[in-house]
């Protein structure tokens, strides 16, 4: 999100929070996590562009918590894992362990192009592979970085709210 876009958003809004359209119910097949989705975020080697967008998603402007999603501090409290970045060597085992530690039913959401297919880091000497090479991915959000509305749309596809 560029600075001018943010300025426009702030200028326009009476309410700070962006109004969003109705949910597209066809995104996810599973009905297990409808209504509430607690997420543990794992940075598997991201450039932190996606992190800034995620911070914005859970910030006051886009406020994803109104759709039943929330960031939590431990995979033991979570229903899903939000993964960003290509998976680097140091983060491969922690990523697998984090997903393993999340109780089922769970979703693994790959945020950004790097999580999807390593993006510009493909073939880097420290990169093990994309997220789906290591753990089964349920939802993939394209973009470098993805727009907050794209992330929210994907999350709402799971919570159906």
């Amino acid at each position: 999100m560029s600075l001018s876009e943010l300025g426009r958003v702030l200028w326009r809004s009476r309410r700070v929070t962006e109004p969003l359209g109705s949910v597209d119910a066809s995104t996810s097949g599973s009905r297990d996590l409808v209504g509430s989705l607690q997420l543990r975020h794992v940075d598997a080697g991201s450039c932190n562009g996606c992190e800034i967008e995620i911070a914005s998603v859970f910030g006051p402007v886009y406020d994803a918590e109104r759709f039943g999603t929330r960031l939590v501090a431990s995979p033991r409290h979570a229903d899903g894992v939000l993964v960003t970045g290509p998976v680097t060597r140091n983060m491969a085992v922690p990523l697998i362990k984090t997903v393993e530690a999340t109780p089922q039913p769970r979703v693994v959401i790959a945020v950004g192009d790097c999580a999807h297919d390593c993006g510009v880091f493909r073939g880097g000497y420290g990169v093990v592979g994309s997220v789906s090479d290591l753990v089964p991915v349920d939802v993939s959000i394209p973009g470098c970085p993805p727009h907050p509305t794209a992330i929210i749309e994907a999350l709402r596809g799971i919570t159906r709210r």
Binding site: S74, R76, V93, P94, L95, K97, T98, E100, A101
Partner: protein, 673 residues
Amino acid sequence: MTAGVLVVVGALLGLGAATAGASLPRGLRVPAAAALIWAACGCEAAAAVHVLATGRPIVLRSTELLPLTGVTLVLNTLGGVFVLLVVMVAVPAVLYGIGYARHGLDTRTAACVFPLFITALFLVPTAGSVATFMVLWELMALTSLLLVLVDHGRSEASRSAATWYAVLTHVGAAAILIGFLILAAHSGGQTFAAIAVHARHLASGVRALVFMLALVGFGSKAGAVPFHVWLPKAHPEAPSPVSALMSGAMVALGVYGIVLVGDDLLGGGPVWWWLVVLVLGGASALFGSLHAASSTDLKRLLAYSTTDNIGLVLLAVGAAGLFDATRHPLLAALSLVSALVLLFNHAAFKGALFLSAGSVQAATGSRDLDRLGGLLRRMPQTGALFLVASAAICALPPLNGFIGEWLLFQSLLHGAAIGSTAGDIAIPLAVAALALTAGLSVVAFVKAVGIGFLGRPRSASADEATEVPGTMRVAVGLLVAVCVVLGVAPTLIFPAVERAVRTALPGLRTPVLAHGVDLQVVGLRGMLAPAALAGSLAIAVVGVMVLRRALSRQPTPRVVEAWGCGRQLQTARMQYTATSFAEPVQRVFDDVLRPVQDLDVTHVAESRYVIESVTFANTVDDAIERGLYAPVIRVVRHWGQLSRRLQPGSVHRYLAYGLGALVIVLVAVAVMG
């Protein structure tokens, strides 16, 4: 008369057990001594039950046994309760000792002294005169001292512990002896009956002096602050059955002494005596529970917890005296009942805990919680028994600890408005101390169970631990069964306890507790239905289990590694330790505990930004020992050094001393003659 024979036969059987232990060959001596001491316990228990059932004391006299004074044995209802308490701990402890024998209890000395210790324990409450009492009391102190020293060849710590114990217990014995001598001198007789008649008419200063001496003497045996320092040293070093007896029974006899002198002999006293007892009790309870919460040695934790529990008992004894002095006989009786019930409870669960700590030590070779872990899986029965006993000591219903603390709370809460200024200040503070103590002891035992028995083993020896022999488990099981029975049906022992209270507080006319299945405090609003409580708890637990099974959607749970922040390398040493668990408590109560922490960081020679190694040491030693005893020991040592100048080893100088003394005597005779 038949009951009197039982007391004598019990004592003789005890001596027979000691003889058997000393004379029989190694394989035979422990079981033979055990059989004889069980028979002795049976006789004494039968005599005590007889006294408690009829209410008539047993009186025995012999002029031949002890020269000059003779022996007087009087078993009244108060003593009878304590005899039962001793027997209750002794029977399982002896059974445990059979399995534990190869850990130092099968030597000739130990096999002889252990039965002698038990004999002394159950005879002390039957002593009926000063001389008899002091002989038995010293026998008890010396035999327990020898038992602390069983391991002396192997560890320096046990020698040091024995020295501390010997000094404190003998300072205590001296105080008791002086107190009794003052009483006997003023009464014209040395039997307790004669003293009880005359002591009421003594000058108040003399009475106060005697009571304070008794408080110091018996307090040092009971492990009350500030005389508790021997407990955390001697209990860990003694073999576990001995620790169980020392902590469960011997310490209780310290309280017996205070009740004997304060209520039975002196017939109660002014309010300030009992405020002193109350303060001593409150301080012991808080100090003990704080140290228990921060200890990492399992048996040291249990020893401090003994100080904590004895503090609660002294709180109850002090409150009883306070209510008696302010003419509230019902409240006084209720407090004293709660004191005796607390002692019974403490004997049951602390006995079980010390015995299971011994099992842990026998199985793993360690008492250090930071080196244990995962024992519940490796020693399931010992672990389960330890868990139940811990729940009992944390005063969780439906176990016995809850009943004792409930009674104490009832007496204190009803006593908050007795209309005496001292009481109005002391009683609410006592309630607060009791509440804080209860919380801290929960911390201590959550730590003991959580760190010691749950999680993964922190050392190879804990990993290889196997369950201990059956006799040891059965012994712990007996005491845990007592915890459960006294928790569900406490009214079983109340008639006996109430009879005992009537001996100590003769002014009581009405019954204190209504006897039935439920507990009801007569004349006050207080009621508890332990059986119904236990039943509803059982129904709730079963209900939750059934519901969980019925509603569970996932039939087979997935087993994954414990969550450790996704670390690649995860070892058992990364678990919570006893030290880290206690750290918040230690930090909050920094001013009382005064821990010594030492952080030593070594940098790599090339750069001070790169650390080579970090050493952290955290020790919580006893602030009272450091602040109160260390200076005294320094002064005594200094005087000892000075006195050595008089004895340099020169024969000439010694001859000169002799000549000088002779001259002085001659001059004195010449001047005075």
